[in-house]
């Protein structure tokens, strides 16, 4: 994957299964420890990649980001049925809480110290130090409780804007912390979230509440010298795609971007919008890895590879979101088999 992102010659398409909870389980760790313990997080991702031979490097992140960082509480996924950290207490419950919300110190905020520890271990092996920014609606929803935030987008929009502006300030401080620690050339940004989905909000609401902030944080990290960005517009964000393109246009198409949309977004649409400059990352239907057979997964990957390899700026075989933690290992092998068989450049 590093070869593709740095423009080197590669012998097959890279495979990045977005394996988080799966990595823990396949290595015999609990998913709770995966998110609560940096060593388990790093080691299991490295071991799973080595076992299967896939190309992604370890990173820390989860969809409930924001609540703990701004003073709320999360639970780690130790129970059967849990797949990722979840919010127990949102820091904003009343309009008054919005004014009281302080921008946290990034070095001590919530999961940031764990994420930094994982990044340090990556950096020691020459792998990118990944940190999470963007996804402002998701981030703010975790701070305010998603339904409350969605209601306030109409009833009290000024409060949603206020929280998001604090999120932007916090994300800039987080970016500075990583850049100061590793240097911008060693960092990689992960940006994404599911509450931006058009199952929840309209493209207009995306434009109003998040687009200016997405442009601001992307410009900020690019201006600081960061080159690599993984964008994960989670779930159905088809109506938001023109706005994502606007982010790239406003940033002058600088940097090396990978787009990993949900399975609802056709690869052809992604190639049309971003293909002249950016890498497209897969988007095979994630639940299929858990529920379908080896042969069926091979065929799903084959279809994705054949369509994705038409992207002039490169393609990575990925699921359209995190690999289900309960995926049978043979279906990760199916990804690798499909990549070797249908994604070879030799």
């Amino acid at each position: 994957m590093f070869g593709l992102m740095t423009g080197q010659k590669i012998d097959r398409i890279p495979v990045s299964p977005f394996a988080m909870g799966y990595a823990a389980k396949v290595c015999g760790f609990s998913i709770g420890d995966f998110y609560a313990n940096a060593k388990v997080n790093f080691r299991s991702q490295l071991m799973a990649a080595d076992m299967h031979g896939y190309d992604s490097s370890p990173m820390y992140g989860y969809a409930s980001i924001g609540a703990w960082e701004f003073g709320g509480k999360i639970g780690f996924p130790y129970e059967v049925g849990h797949g990722a950290p979840y919010v127990i207490e949102h820091p904003v419950e009343t309009p008054e809480d919005v004014d009281r919300l302080e921008i946290p110190d990034p070095s001590r905020a919530g999961s940031n110290p764990i994420s930094m520890e994982v990044a340090k271990q990556c950096n020691a092996l020459g792998l990118p130090a990944v940190f999470q920014v963007g996804g402002f609606i998701t981030f703010a929803g975790n701070i305010m409780e998603p339904a409350r935030m969605l209601l306030w987008m109409i009833r009290k929009p000024e409060l949603v804007h206020k929280v998001i502006s604090k999120v932007l300030a916090f994300q800039k401080l987080t970016a500075d912390w990583y850049i100061d620690t590793f240097g911008p050339e060693k960092c990689m940004v992960f940006s994404g979230g599911a509450t931006e989905s058009n199952k929840l909000i309209s493209a207009k609401q995306f434009e109003t509440f998040t687009l200016p902030n997405e442009i601001a944080i992307n410009k900020y990290v690019l201006d600081k010298g960061i080159h690599s960005v993984l964008m994960h517009p989670c779930a159905d964000q088809n109506a938001n795609i023109p706005h994502y393109r606007k982010i790239r246009e406003e940033c002058g198409w600088r940097g090396r971007y990978v787009w990993n949309f949900g399975p609802e977004t056709p690869l052809e649409k992604q190639i049309e919008m971003f293909g002249a400059h950016d890498i497209i990352g897969g988007n095979v239907d994630p639940p299929s890895f858990q529920t379908k057979s080896f042969d069926e997964v091979i065929m799903l990957c084959k279809d994705n590879i054949e369509r994705g390899m038409k992207n002039p700026s490169g393609y990575i075989l990925m699921p359209g979101c995190e690999l289900p933690p309960l995926t049978p290992p043979i279906n990760v092998h199916a990804m690798m088999t499909a990549a070797r068989k249908f994604g070879s450049f030799e």
């Binding site: 969605l150 209601l151 009833r155 929840l200 639940p287 309960l326």
Partner: protein
Amino acid sequence: MNEEILNGLADAVIAGDVEKAEKCAKDSISADMDAYTSIMEGCAKGMNVVSKKYECGETYVPEILCSAEAMNAAMDILKPHLKADATAVPKKIVLGVTKGDVHEIGKNLVKLMLEAAGFKVIDLGKDVPTEKFVAAVKEEDADICALSALMTTSMIFMPDVIREVKRVKPSIVTMVGGGPLSAATAETYGADGYAKDASVAVKVAKDLVRSV
């Protein structure tokens, strides 16, 4: 006059206008209108329009939540005036998010749509273990058991719930929905129905009840 009030109620729900919804509800009481008719021909009619607009991608969850506020405000005024014998016995639905899963926006939308359509919903909330579904179905003598999940780690409990509720009440019908589900997975799990999202949940529930 009555039609004007009913249309006003429906419009208020569609627009998410709480003040107007309350005024129309009070007007209907003052005009001695039947409260059940006001709920069904006013509030529910408005919510059905909202549901259809959501299905077509013409409205989104923030607007639906405002409509829910307006509908609830009107219902609070109308409910005390319901006559005991005014309605047929509504079909009962036990609804919940399966164990390990705390995502409930989708489930809450389903609840809203079902209630607007006249179902009695017993909402068990989120992170609900199998035993709790079984106990609720038994205790409430429910007609439908509806399960929601947003995670692949929590949807795996659906077959257990379906099997166990059918064991205590063989005639119960089951339906499932949520992001990682598909019609094929629902069938594998033994569910009688599958709703891809809240906008179609009412139709699926009505079809299932009719088929029994």
